[in-house]
Symmetry: C3
Subunit: 268 residues, 3 copies
């Protein structure tokens, strides 16, 4: 029972996800199709790449991951499939896979060009259904990877915004805002441990939010709280509320973490 995951911006109001599943099940009735999410903001490849990177590794080895946020559908952008030591990845070559692939050991990478693998009629606006779904279904049945098309040396990347290290201070940014209004930053956990772990103070722009805490309810209801979130990144939240609403969080907003000692020193 192979697993095929779907990460898209198709939304759930129309029939787009349903038909994608129908095509997969028509070709492989034994596939288990799992929605990671279809709620990526339309055409937001960066948000899709982040959501996908945050989730794909919770699936068992052998899973086929399909990620389709595809504003260039129908244009000359390539369709690709990437095989790593653990998974197969399928999607448009626009960077949607790049944050995930940064953690993987890639063994093979191909452009998907073999039209005999697609639906007979390929629309110019819905390759999720017409190209990626049938390709994923055929791969889930054990189809030889080389049938997809020619090998590729390079695929498109999106730059990951790196944390900058100052003297006892780290400078990063909000990279994703989830539906609870939590702002996920680009501070990985070991970066903060290097700075003294819980012994540090988090700033949103110039506003002091307070020390790193272990969980949301460590602060009173309605107050901001910085925690290591479930993605492993530092998160800015409000206990029982929405940090996005209450603090006006924006993607790209600057966040700093200062070692407590350094902060005391500099503020004295």
């Amino acid at each position: 029972m192979p697993i095929i995951t779907l990460t898209t911006d198709f939304g759930l109001s129309d029939w787009f996800v349903g038909t994608t599943r129908g095509v997969i099940l028509g070709l492989n009735p034994h596939a288990t199709v799992v929605d990671i999410t279809h709620g990526i903001p339309p055409g937001d490849v960066r948000a899709g790449a982040f959501a996908f990177a945050a989730s794909y590794r919770y699936f068992p080895k052998g899973t086929i991951h399909v990620a389709v946020v595809d504003p260039g559908v129908g244009s000359q952008r390539r369709a690709i499939a990437v095989r790593t030591t653990r998974y197969i990845f399928v999607g448009p070559d626009n960077g949607i896979l790049s944050f995930a692939l940064a953690n993987e050991r890639v063994t093979e990478c191909r452009e998907i060009t073999n039209r005999s693998l697609f639906l007979k009629a390929v629309s110019s606006t819905f390759h999720g259904r017409d190209v990626f779904a049938p390709v994923a279904a055929r791969l889930s049945k054990g189809m030889f990877f080389g049938r997809l098309g020619p090998a590729l040396k390079h695929i498109s990347q999106i730059d990951w915004p790196e944390v900058k290290r100052g003297k006892a201070t780290l400078h990063g940014a909000i990279v994703y805002i989830d539906q609870f209004g939590n702002g996920i930053t680009n501070f990985p956990p070991n970066a903060i441990e290097d700075l003294g772990g819980a012994e540090c103070i988090v700033f949103l722009g110039r506003k002091r939010l307070g020390p790193l805490n272990s969980f949301y309810q460590a602060v009173p209801r309605g107050r901001p709280v910085a925690v290591i979130g479930s993605t492993g990144f530092l998160e800015i939240a409000v206990n029982g509320g929405s940090a996005a609403d209450q603090l006006g969080l924006k993607i790209g907003q600057r966040v700093a973490v200062k070692a407590r000692a350094a902060y005391r020193h500099s503020s004295s």
Copy 2:
């Protein structure tokens, strides 16, 4: 592993879809239940009929399709099941199935009256769970179609708005607006081919949108674009944006397609 699809206006915020699935799996643990969508606007039978017609044929032969947009639930409206050469369809007799059935060869049509097939307690407001789910589950186990109830000669239809042909001009309308804000029209693809294919100009009301294009990014970001969409119908979109918001699209709004030559002539 029979497939049962669900197309409803139940939404995903409450437990309505979950209980419908629970009832099906309780009667047939081997069924694969697939959501086409639960996002039809509440009670909008026409939108449900369109979404269902756009999606049902992507499922393999033998699929049992359940479509429930049912503002008349609990009243005297009939429940029906229709068997065609490829599928079984189940739903209220209010036209929700009619756009799909227009493409099918119907072999048998029955009113669902056999209460022994329903849940023991049938509510007056949720026949998706109490009537249609158990009936679909039993059919997926191979139950004799004739057990449902008496044969029917006629079922309810919704009129499909036909495109009108003028001299080198076709007159149609927006019939569905998807969640991306794309306006789907009632122009089928061969109608436009008859007019000269790409050699035609699309008008929204009196506003000239431009020629038919092959994909969204054929125009600059933020500009309107007319393409043959994934349903096969002419679609009015905005590259990277929402045509519904930007052009103020409404269901029923007039759209015209003119042969380019005719347009040049008439505008001279």
Copy 3:
């Protein structure tokens, strides 16, 4: 093919549900995972408990129900598993399970403390993925219930607001508003039968809504209607519209049902 249901406030915009499913399928590829809903308002344990109680019993015997609305995640609140004569229930010990368990015969109740059953890295903000998903998956494979942790005598309860009986009048309240804008009350069906069944008049605050009806379309389009809803409770709706919008329904708003004779008498 064991069934595992999920009832959460994770929403569908991010990857939270997808990763929860991935963890379950990684541990038990044969599990059938069913979403009851992920649309509980964030942190609203009472709404979650109601939605869960309205749905869990439509699943077959042996189903493992996971309900996670968990504002206290990462704090000292306990994780629990409860076994009844029909089901297993898993969730935080904050009352989310209590409305459902009021209908069940509990046979065993345990705190979940055995960390060897969890994901290796347990976050402080997402126990749905890291604790409850792997525990449910292991239970679905037949794991001995006692391995979870120590037996518990008492678990947290949320009070159910009881209907109050006056002389020929029942006093209750709106306890849940669904996405159609229907207001579900705490009047159970037999309470109304005791009062004379259809022979009674429903009041919202001081406003007379009219007699109990059998279905939505029993009143003209756009008019309020009181029916026995699909949960078995009295519901206040508007035919073809939203009672929440049109009548300004609020959780906790008072509703009264008067025997018709009594009402005539009192209003004379």
